[in-house]
């Protein structure tokens, strides 16, 4: 049955749908404190004494290297660093009793003064003994330069506060062990990254671990890597020789998953009176959380390197920091550094336009890169002026400019193409089975895989089974993130298909569909790719703000370079879904904390996830400049989360006359002054 048909019948198979005889339900007693020493634990089944492992980074944004002093302990090792950190585990035959057992675990703490604000963290004592500074990353990009004294300076403190990824299906795993092999069924973006992480954490030979992806109910960056809870589930499955299930509750998700954003930038943009940008200086500070194992070691560099935006930036000197705080580790969330970087540069450009009393789009045209160049911060910026000219036309900017509170965003999206991707096509009994290293979790790769195989091999869609990730069926793989799958995953499928075609030609003299379907073929391709590709995009948003400071988004339009559009329906869906997340980031989504590091957000609604009645209809137009990859496509999945917050912030600025420097924008900030 086709995937969408299965799903609308309620016949998908998500991780919590798995039932096995003798299954244990795992639960975690979690820290109530943001920072404390643990004095005593009683009533728990498993503590750090027994489950003495650490989680190392895997997945999107992972850096190389083994465990460090800052690695996330699977269960707390005498110390807790954030509210929600797993301290001890309990288990039972049913989920209700497991929760009762969580309540019966008693943990004695000695609370310590929490470090909540990242900028304050730089001035505070080191969080851990033996650690010299709370800055776990502190690097400079670009070169010191002396600005022309006659240059205009736009100085801003810009903030993207923390957001929960909030896929509607929370995290979850089922683990089973037969005495030799550990099999894991998991909701994931990358079966291979889970396998690699488990192998490292449990110190087990990789070939004794099989990771199977089940239907995955959204992920948005969260489900790329391994989590402490997964390691405990596997440990318990091996210890008890019984299948073990752990399903995250939404409360746990809000406390202890890996939220995204959480970045502060203090930046100065220099420009000439004619609007030409001359340089950028300042710092970018990532709110890393209490341990490594998220993306905090990677994101400050990634953000700093992109700060030229799509512009020509001759000089830049940027300090990139990641700072320990008493919060859950920061992780990748749709865009993962891209939305932050573009937000910062674009807000500065809007600020410069106001200072110069210029039209912000006109100013963007002046500064758009006329030729492809490598910015002083290190990223290659593709020539962007011609694209911007067509975006202005296609989005009908001139029309809106006159009548509406309009915001415009100009962005460059760096695709995570480097690293390549794998695919395997196996033909037997007249059907094609396809496994890919990147695991779809709402992007519907199945649709474009079928389209491409029809093109390459002439095989009809109903003979193709696009299967979920399975490390026993596919020897290696990377993952579905970073707007990469339409580029490298699709290319791996194309190359694997072409290899089969070649074999058939070799054997039969020419390729025929009959030869394909009558034969047994099996081709694995790891499509190697070293380059980071990029594409340009623009967004236009109009909005009104009422007498209570309530924002109504009216138009939200995208113009993205998607190269060859593999699946237009899907591309439109990706755009609308990303745009709602972009509006959410701007207006409502935040994981807020009090001064003691206690989370203030306890539901998915309070976390700001928008419902259908609060968002407009979206529009997208495609610019189709083909990529150099075999699929000719360019990913757009993250583009709306980059462009929409920028354009919407500007539209609100126009509507209210108030300077917007933070997301989300607090409703009280937008409340207009009373008239009486």
């Amino acid at each position: 049955m086709e995937l969408s048909e299965k799903l609308v019948r309620g016949e998908g198979r998500f991780v919590d749908d798995i039932q096995m005889p003798g299954m244990l339900y795992l639960g975690f007693a979690r820290s109530q404190y943001a920072r404390a020493k643990i004095l005593k634990i009683s009533g728990a089944h498993l503590t750090h004494k027994e489950v003495n492992f650490e989680v190392v980074e895997v997945g999107e944004g992972a850096t190389e290297g083994g465990p460090t002093a800052l690695s996330h302990p699977v269960l707390a090792n005498g110390y807790v660093g954030y509210v929600g950190q797993p301290v001890a585990a309990v288990y039972s035959d049913d989920r209700y009793t497991a929760e009762d057992l969580i309540d019966s675990v008693e943990i004695e703490y000695e609370p310590l003064k929490a470090i909540v604000d990242p900028e304050e963290s730089l001035k505070r004592e080191a969080m851990y003994p033996g650690v010299r500074s709370n800055a776990i990353v502190d690097r400079y990009f670009g070169k010191e330069f002396t600005p022309d004294p006659s240059d205009i300076v736009i100085e801003r403190r810009l903030v993207n506060r923390r957001i929960a990824t909030n896929p509607i299906e929370p995290r979850g795993i089922v683990a089973a062990y037969d005495g030799n092999k550990l099999t894991v069924w998991v909701s994931t973006q990358s079966a291979h990254s889970i396998k690699e992480g488990l192998s490292e954490a449990l110190k087990m030979e990789p070939d004794r671990i099989r990771v199977v992806q089940v239907d995955t109910g959204g992920a948005f960056g969260l489900k790329g890597g391994l989590f402490p809870e997964y390691v405990v589930a596997c440990y318990l499955a091996m210890k008890e020789r019984r299948p073990v299930k752990w399903i995250e509750t939404r409360r746990e998700h809000l406390l202890a998953s890996r939220p995204g954003r959480g970045v502060v930038a203090n930046l100065k943009l220099y420009a000439k009176r004619d609007g030409t940008i001359t340089g950028l200086k300042g710092d970018v500070i990532v709110d890393n959380g209490a341990f490594t194992g998220g993306s905090g070691e990677f994101s400050p560099m990634f953000i700093a390197r992109q700060l030229a935006g799509a512009y020509y930036l001759p000089n830049a000197h940027v300090r990139a920091l990641s700072v320990l705080t008493n919060k859950a580790p920061q992780g990748p969330y749709r865009g993962a550094g891209r939305p932050e970087a573009m937000y910062f540069i674009e807000r500065l450009v809007d600020g410069l336009a106001d200072e110069l009393k210029m039209d912000p789009v006109e100013l963007r045209l002046i500064n758009a890169a006329k030729e492809t160049y490598t910015s002083p911060l290190g990223m290659q910026v593709e020539k962007s002026r011609a694209f911007l000219e067509s975006a202005i036309k296609e989005l009908d900017y001139e029309k809106y400019k006159e009548k509406e509170n309009v915001g415009f965003a100009f962005l460059i999206l760096y695709h995570a193409t480097a690293g390549g991707e794998s695919a395997r096509i196996k033909v037997e009994d007249g059907r094609l089975k396809v496994w890919t290293g990147g695991n779809a979790h709402g992007q519907r790769h199945d649709i474009f895989i079928k389209t491409l195989l029809k093109e390459e091999l002439g095989v009809s869609e109903d003979l193709v089974d696009a299967l979920k990730g399975d490390t026993d069926q596919l020897q290696d793989g990377v993952g579905a993130w970073g707007s990469r799958s339409s580029m490298v995953l699709s290319s791996a499928v194309i190359v694997a298909a072409r290899k089969i075609k070649e074999q058939i030609e070799k054997k039969h003299g020419k390729y025929t569909l009959k030869a394909l379907l009558d034969g047994n073929w099996d081709e694995y391709e790891f499509f190697k790719y070293d380059k980071t590709e990029s594409s340009l995009g623009a967004n236009l948003v109009t909005a009104d703000v009422d007498g209570y400071g309530r924002v109504r988004v009216k138009e939200c339009l995208s113009y993205y370079d998607a190269g060859r559009v593999l699946d237009p329906d899907n591309a439109r869906g990706q755009n609308a879904g990303g745009a709602v997340q972009g509006i959410g980031q701007t207006l409502s989504e935040e994981l807020a904390f009090d001064e003691d590091g206690l989370p203030l957000i306890t539901s998915i609604s309070d976390a700001g996830v928008l419902s259908a009645d609060l968002v407009p209809k979206f529009g997208i137009k495609f610019h189709k400049s083909e990529s150099p990859l075999p699929s000719k496509a360019k990913g757009i999945g993250e583009a709306p989360t980059i462009g929409v917050p920028i354009a919407l912030s500007r539209a609100i600025e126009k509507a209210t006359g108030k300077l917007i420097v933070e997301t989300p924008i607090k409703p009280e900030y937008l409340l207009p002054a009373g008239k009486d």
Partner: protein, 174 residues
């Protein structure tokens, strides 16, 4: 020890009897006892609507109803919409045709809320659709394709009728 209760709930036309703890949620009764896992659970706080089912003709959140409260009631789950028929229900078909789903996790709830809406309103407007699904969260689609699916389903139901019109648990409200 808390005493268990014997309950009987009609699920998709079939009586399902079981002895359950009073605290068991209807969602878990459907998933774990009856084995119908199309009803999903997405939040703890009655916000997301992934668990939506039809109870005595009304769309409700089955994670916020005790199984014992549903004793003697009639429940329609996503599996019941096309039960025993190869062909999809018009609402399901529209979600397939109009790309109204991506990851598929919120889909069961969205479809059942849509079905309830369309049983109650003809010529439904975009605003009515968005208000009706305001208790069902989707994080993938941005809602556009869901709204289009529901508009399409409205047409399909007008043209083809509702194959489960005679189904006892659905009360059509005037």
């Amino acid at each position: 020890m808390v005493s268990k209760k014997n309950i009987s709930i009609t699920v998709n036309g079939e009586a399902k009897e079981a002895e359950v703890e009073p605290r068991m949620l209807l969602a878990h009764f459907l998933r774990d006892v009856v084995g119908l896992t199309g009803t999903h659970i997405g939040c703890d706080t009655t916000n997301c609507g992934a668990c939506t089912v039809i109870m005595d003709g009304k769309a409700v959140k089955s994670c916020t109803i005790l199984a014992v409260q549903a004793n003697g009631r009639k429940i329609l789950t996503i599996e019941g919409l096309s039960k025993g028929r190869e062909k999809l229900h018009p609402v399901q078909q529209s979600f397939v045709d109009k790309h109204g789903l991506q990851c598929g996790y919120c889909t069961s709830g969205m479809i059942l809320t849509s079905y309830w809406l369309l049983k109650n309103r003809k010529n439904v407007t975009e605003e009515e659709i968005r208000a009706a699904i305001s208790g069902n969260l989707c994080r993938c689609t941005g809602y556009d394709n869901i709204v289009e699916s529901i508009k399409d389903a409205s047409k399909k139901m007008e043209e083809e009728g509702d194959p489960i019109e005679e189904h006892p648990e659905i009360k059509v409200r005037a």
